[in-house]
């Protein structure tokens, strides 16, 4: 084996080992990302794990911003506390705490999802 060959083999082995290790590294820090989308567009992302104070805010949607969903985020959990939609399914659902869970307000096209490794490909409810 010539020096070039040896170098190539070493580079390949190192590259394979490195990519294997990187792929298996846990996500950095303890984060629990909640993502709020309106009509498919992300309007806010909150790291629930890093929240020290409760956070409450209103998401406005609709053509003249007349639709409202009041979101409350606390350490490790998030919910819709009030909304002016008819069905109130989002308010009634209460807190979500784990990756893969989501709250959907269909009339306002608002979706709150907790991202991250959930251990499942989907949740049926």
């Amino acid at each position: 084996m010539r020096r070039g060959d040896r170098l190539l083999v070493i580079v390949l082995v190192v590259a394979i080992a490195a990519s294997w290790i990187i792929a298996r590294l846990p996500a950095r820090g303890e984060s629990l990302l909640a993502e709020i989308k309106v009509d498919g567009k992300v309007v806010q992302t909150i790291d629930l794990a890093k929240l020290t104070e409760p956070l409450e805010f209103t998401v406005y949607s609709g053509s003249s911003n007349q639709q409202t969903n009041v979101i409350r985020a606390e350490t490790g959990r998030i919910r819709v506390v009030a909304a002016n939609c008819r069905e109130q399914l989002d308010v009634r659902q209460g807190w979500i705490t784990r990756p893969g869970q989501s709250i959907i307000c269909l009339p306002h096209r608002l979706v709150v999802t907790i991202r991250g490794e959930s251990g499942v490909d989907g949740i049926i409810r």
Binding site: E87, R109, G122
Partner: protein, 350 residues
């Protein structure tokens, strides 16, 4: 000297071949597992489809165009809704509908027969009376329920396959394809994805229906969590491992209202005209076609655990049922595929 030259060339060639093979394998994996995902609000729900493989992008465009088409035809009201026209002509005249709508109604009636009317698409007048999920919920008077119930019978839906018409025989009757239309949409979407050469996809047509095309891109089973029907914030309480199959869940924990301390949920028993009183907290049907699961999950909820599971097995399908004593039941076909994820529940002693 010539020998060593020869050896070097062979080595170089082997190295080059190895590299090409590695790149080819890498590309093949990429081509097979590249994820395309699209979300839309259609059929009064959120639809999310993940398709894997390079043919995914073009396939998704066609799928969403088709879903929007089905949505328009099958909704209960709105411009272009065939269902609205059928309902408005109840007791008046038969209405010609598209092949889509006709086949969905036909399938719905089959399941109405098979479940001896526990699943009945003509329940619409009673559902409208309760108004659950509309923001105008109320407990109707017994007399009102009786009047509306008199209009409920799948036997009074007349289909003419030659003319492709639907006729509701009595004025005031109405059909609501609701869940079963979503099942049909899932099956259509899966068919289109498959025709485009997509081998792995996961389709969620609303939160109560998930359809899998093929196995997961890594060749393993899909892992689908079943919502905890009691403590909603806990997320899933069990994991169901499935290959190519459709799942449909019915439960009383999502749509309901509380009046004078009594909880009224949205699954109406066609026999009483009131929310079904059942020992079932949630039922998940596993079937090859999504349309079957949507009809059956409602029927099982109304029938109760024992008769419901018997119906599912007689239909050659499978299901997971969670009963009010926190027991998890499943049909034999799901042995080894149901894994508990919460200490609040236990497998049923069988």
């Amino acid at each position: 000297m010539s020998k060593s030259w020869h050896q070097t060339t062979v080595r170089r060639l082997a190295t080059a071949l190895l590299l090409v093979a590695l790149i080819a394998v890498g590309f093949w994996r990429y081509a097979d597992t590249r994820e395309y995902s699209q979300t839309a609000f259609l059929m009064s729900t959120q639809i999310e489809i993940k398709a894997y493989g390079l043919s995914g992008r073009a396939a998704l465009a066609e799928v969403f165009a088709r879903l929007s088409d089905i949505d328009q035809r099958m909704r209960v009201s709105g411009t272009g809704s065939e269902i609205e026209t059928v309902n408005a002509n109840a007791g008046v005249q038969p209405v010609a509908v598209s092949a889509d709508t006709f086949s969905v109604i036909q399938r719905a009636l089959e399941f109405s027969q098979r479940s001896t009317g526990k699943f009945d698409i003509t329940i619409q007048p009673v559902v409208a009376l309760w108004g659950i999920g509309t923001g105008n919920e109320r407990v109707p008077a017994a007399a009102e329920i009786r009047t509306a119930l008199a209009l409920v019978s799948y036997k009074n839906v007349q289909l003419d396959s030659a003319k492709q018409t639907v006729y509701l025989t009595t004025k005031g009757m109405g059909i609501d394809l609701g869940g079963i239309a979503k099942g049909y949409a899932a099956d259509e979407a899966k068919r289109i994805l498959s025709a485009h050469g997509v081998k792995h996809a996961l389709l969620s047509i609303g939160e109560s229906s998930i359809t899998a095309l093929g196995e997961r891109p890594d060749g393993k089973d899909w892992r689908i969590g079943i919502q905890d029907p009691v403590n909603l914030e806990n997320g899933y309480m069990a994991v169901l491992s499935i290959g190519d199959a459709a799942l449909s869940t019915s439960g009383a924990y999502e749509r309901y209202f509380i009046k004078d301390g009594v909880r009224y949920h949205h699954i109406i028993d066609p026999a009483t005209g009131s929310p079904a009183e059942s020992d079932v907290l949630s039922v998940t049907i596993v079937s090859p076609d999504a349309i079957d699961g949507d009809a059956l999950s409602t029927a099982v909820f109304v029938l109760g655990r024992e008769r419901g599971m018997a119906l599912v097995e007689a239909s050659g399908l499978n299901c997971v049922v969670i009963t009010k004593d926190n027991a998890v039941w499943y049909t034999d076909g799901l042995a080894g595929r149901v894994e508990l994820a919460s200490e609040d529940y236990h497998y049923a002693a069988r």
